[in-house]
């Protein structure tokens, strides 16, 4: 487990090379897998805090969009399409807020857009069916 995290840090060190001019350039030896790179230190608490904030945003927005879908009376595939749209909308909102400094907060933009896309699906369905029942059935 520790070796894979080490490799992850080294891989991200090579991709960060272009943005950080103060580090020494990598030297390519004859073996292709050997590269002398400086390891980059990430603060574990900060990474966890960022993922936590993202998860809180996702859960509350999926609950909200479930309420909206229930009020509007969306059914079957339109409801799931609306979930996809609301997750994409949330991702673009977050990207728009951290547009200039997203590299200081996340290692890659996949965290904002793709990871955890379906995390809020069950919350969405819960609020969707509840509000649909409240508004349209009773």
């Amino acid at each position: 487990m520790s070796t894979s995290s080490e490799m992850q840090i080294r891989r991200s060190a090579t991709t960060l090379r272009s943005t950080n001019p103060t580090r020494s350039p990598p030297t390519l030896s004859s073996a292709t897998s050997h590269r002398r790179v400086e390891p980059v230190l990430y603060s574990e608490m900060a990474v966890r805090l960022n993922e936590n904030s993202l998860e809180q945003c996702r859960t509350s927005v999926s609950a909200l969009s479930g309420c909206v879908a229930g009020i509007l009376g969306l059914t079957s595939y339109k409801g799931f399409l609306f979930y996809g749209f609301s997750m994409f909308f949330l991702s673009s909102l977050i990207y728009w807020y951290i547009r200039n400094e997203h590299r200081t907060f996340f290692t890659s933009l996949n965290h904002v857009f793709f990871n955890g896309f379906f995390n809020g699906l069950l919350t969405y369905v819960l609020f969707w069916t509840f509000l649909y029942g409240m508004v349209h059935v009773y």
Partner: protein
């Protein structure tokens, strides 16, 4: 407080739109018309309330910290880090 205003207003607008949608449903059921779709102003109010709530949520929950540990260490001096209090 200014951050929460948008969220509170959005939630209230959403609740109001939900209540009017329920009332419209009851009205259509009482007058025995076929229910085609909700009136346009309710749909518009719902979507605008959703937008306001989303922006309020991102502002309220979206507080990120820089992940490189050197950002945290920039402001510390050697006196803070290298302090080793003696035993007595």
């Amino acid at each position: 407080m200014g951050q929460k205003i948008l969220l509170i207003v959005g939630l209230l607008a959403l609740a109001h739109a939900g209540y009017s949608a329920a009332q419209h449903r009851v009205y259509v059921r009482l007058t025995e018309q076929r229910f085609e779709r909700l009136p346009t102003d309710i749909i518009v109010q719902t979507l605008i309330a959703f937008l306001a709530c989303c922006i309020g949520t991102v502002q309220f929950f979206g507080k990120f910290k820089p992940i490189l540990i050197t950002a945290e260490w920039q402001n510390k001096s050697w006196d803070t880090i290298g302090n080793r209090p003696s035993f007595m």
